[in-house]
């Protein structure tokens, strides 16, 4: 195809890639600058004076940032673990077996990724009231499962659809009990999926704003809620500092999983399958 894809066409494609990258990385820079700025106004390219005041405030007890950080970590971890426990067996059923009504089940699982979260949470709110789950951390964890569960299930379905159960038959034939087969053969094979899927489920829970706000009723203050409050109150410097803390797990996870992702490990392969 070298004769056809001339230099011009190729150049155009690379250019679109470049635009994309600039477009996506650019927004993060002002955030970092702000957090160290003492006043930064249009049309200055950079702030006139620098300070670490915003950071000092952000890590102080008054701001409640650290409390919110630990709470957010706890909620996201719980949602992740629950997602793994349900998502792995459900993903195996979806990825490996054909059964009547499988299409319907797949559709239902896709629904929350398509139907906007705000509509979903309005409906679930009354159910949670009657169960006494509103305004509690438990309720927030449960409602976070709405976006994280489908994600984990789809990732695991992708993993299992590429998984050859003959490996398990081979292990049995070589003398392994069902339990040992799971431990030595199945688990190592699906571990990359569990890790990457789990990390992403963590991030999805980490990013929830509206679900937490509506179910938590303002009593469960996670990092994005705090961030939003500072952002709308116009404190750009503190917003910048909290924002940097807030995006940290995302950046770390992105770098951690970069190898898997560019190695096309199929770990994020859920969407590809269903």
């Amino acid at each position: 195809m070298i004769g056809q894809d001339g230099l011009w066409t190729r150049g155009f494609r690379y250019l679109t890639c470049l635009i994309l990258v600039v477009w996506l990385i650019m927004p993060l820079i002002p955030l970092a600058i702000w957090s160290f700025a003492r006043g930064w106004f249009f049309p200055d390219i950079l702030p006139k004076r620098w300070t670490t005041d915003a950071w000092a405030y952000a890590v102080s007890d008054t701001a409640g940032v650290l409390d919110a950080l630990w709470l957010t970590i706890g909620i996201s971890l719980a949602a992740t673990v629950l997602s793994i426990l349900v998502g792995v067996p459900a993903g195996r059923a979806l990825g490996m077996y054909k059964f009547r009504g499988k299409g319907v089940v797949e559709l239902m699982i896709l629904a929350p990724t398509i139907v906007p979260g705000i509509a979903v949470v309005l409906g679930i709110h009354s159910v949670f009231i009657s169960l006494g789950l509103t305004n509690t951390v438990h309720g927030v964890i449960l409602v976070h499962l709405i976006p994280t569960l489908p994600y984990m299930t789809l990732v695991m379905a992708g993993i299992f659809s590429n998984y050859d159960p003959a490996f398990e038959a081979q292990a049995r034939s070589l003398g392994a009990s069902p339990l040992k087969t799971f431990w030595y053969v199945t688990l190592p094979a699906i571990m990359p999926g569990i890790i990457v899927g789990g990390l992403f489920a963590f991030l999805v829970s980490w990013s929830q704003y509206i679900l937490t706000l509506l179910i938590g009723g303002g009593r469960v203050v996670t990092l994005p809620l705090l961030l939003f409050n500072f952002a709308t109150s116009g404190r750009n410097d503190i917003t910048g500092a909290i924002g940097m803390i807030y995006i940290l797990p995302g950046i770390i996870i992105l770098l951690l999983t970069a190898k898997h992702l560019s190695g096309r490990s199929g770990a994020v392969g859920g969407f590809g399958r269903i």
Binding site: A169, R172, L174, G175, A176, K180
Partner: protein, 346 residues
């Protein structure tokens, strides 16, 4: 030292009309290397899985030394199956793969290490223990899969198309390795294949399964020279089937009267002979000479296939290219069918 007895083994998959395997009975002597041969979908892999315990039979029995094994779990049967695509565990080293069966049996680690080393020597890959399976070639992977199976000294070894993924050169190497190890260790071995050449090259005895039923169970060369019926002969590349009548000594047909070897079937039947056994020129013994017209020549490099016509009867021959140099389409020529190579199917 295990005698395997398969008794009326039948498998009907849920929802299927016809059985995948219909009433298969087979006796496999201790230490023998037997091929289950048949086209894809004939039920041979189903049979393997039932022996290995990965599939439950609908009816029938599998007995090792007269003890039924159907109620045993796969891991307790003393059967190891080697799959066609080797299935080396990708995240374990080669040595860990080979030692897997021993580890499951809680063997002492030092003992495992020693026996893995021995086994790697045996399959002639002593230096690859530390590698990952993905770093091995196809032929090496298969040898490691074999080593992993043999290290647990199974009573019965099952092989799924053991030569089919290998190129011509490696096939013979692998064949020699399988035969020598299997005979040395005296392991009763069953393999399935759809390729008659693979069956013939590797097996002591071949069971031909067509449409879920066993057609013939014999030493490999018998299938070429004395097939039980036309379907069997065709599966092994037979082309010439001539209807007529045998009186035990001669066969009367459109080809005329041909001398038969002693012991031939009597009565109405079909005469068959392999294309490779049709010879150019008159019969030195005088009896079975025919006059043929050359209809088509297909040059295949090391062999030449001739389509002939004797009267109105088509006959196919495969000969050495040098023997037919200078022949042209339409030529008349003498051929003969050596008496010993004729066979009558009743």
């Amino acid at each position: 030292m295990t005698h395997v007895s398969i008794q009326s083994l039948t498998k009907v998959y849920p929802g299927a009309d016809t059985p995948a395997l219909d009433n298969l009975s087979l006796e496999i002597a201790t230490g023998e290397l037997t091929a289950l041969l048949g086209p894809s979908g004939c039920g041979k892999t189903t049979t393997m899985k039932m022996i290995a315990g990965l599939l439950e039979p609908t009816s029938g029995d599998v007995r090792f030394n007269d003890r039924s094994i159907l109620r045993e779990k796969p891991e307790n049967r003393g059967v190891v199956m080697v799959f066609q695509n080797y299935l080396l565990f990708p995240y374990m080293s080669v040595a860990d793969n080979v030692g897997f069966g021993l580890k499951m049996r809680k063997t002492d680690p030092a003992e495992i290490k020693r026996r893995v080393g021995e086994m790697l020597d045996l399959v002639k890959l002593p230096d690859l223990g530390d590698r990952k399976p993905s770093a091995l070639s196809g032929g090496q992977q298969q040898r490691i899969a074999l080593a992993r199976a043999l290290i647990v000294q199974p009573e019965v070894l099952l092989l799924d198309e053991p030569l089919s993924n290998l190129d011509a050169h490696l096939r013979f190497e692998m064949r020699d390795l399988i035969r020598s190890l299997q005979q040395e260790m005296g392991i009763t071995t069953i393999f399935v294949t759809h390729d008659q050449e693979e069956a013939v090259v590797l097996a002591d005895r071949v069971a031909l399964i067509l449409d879920g039923q066993m057609k013939q169970y014999d030493a490999a060369n018998v299938f070429y020279n004395r097939p039980v019926d036309e379907a069997t002969a065709r599966f092994f590349g037979g082309h010439n089937f001539i209807a007529g009548t045998s009186d035990g000594g001669t066969f009367s047909s459109p080809l005329g009267r041909l001398s038969l070897p002693s012991g031939a079937t009597k009565g109405a039947g079909k005469l068959t002979f392999r294309p490779e056994n049709v010879r150019i020129g008159p019969d030195p013994e005088g009896d079975n000479t025919l006059t043929a017209h050359l209809v088509d020549i297909i040059y295949l490099g090391t062999q030449t296939r001739l389509k002939l016509r004797v009267g109105d009867t088509p006959v196919e021959a495969v000969v050495n290219p040098n023997d037919v140099e200078g022949l042209n389409l339409g030529d008349q020529m003498q051929i003969h069918l050596p008496k010993a190579t004729l066979w009558v199917i009743s």
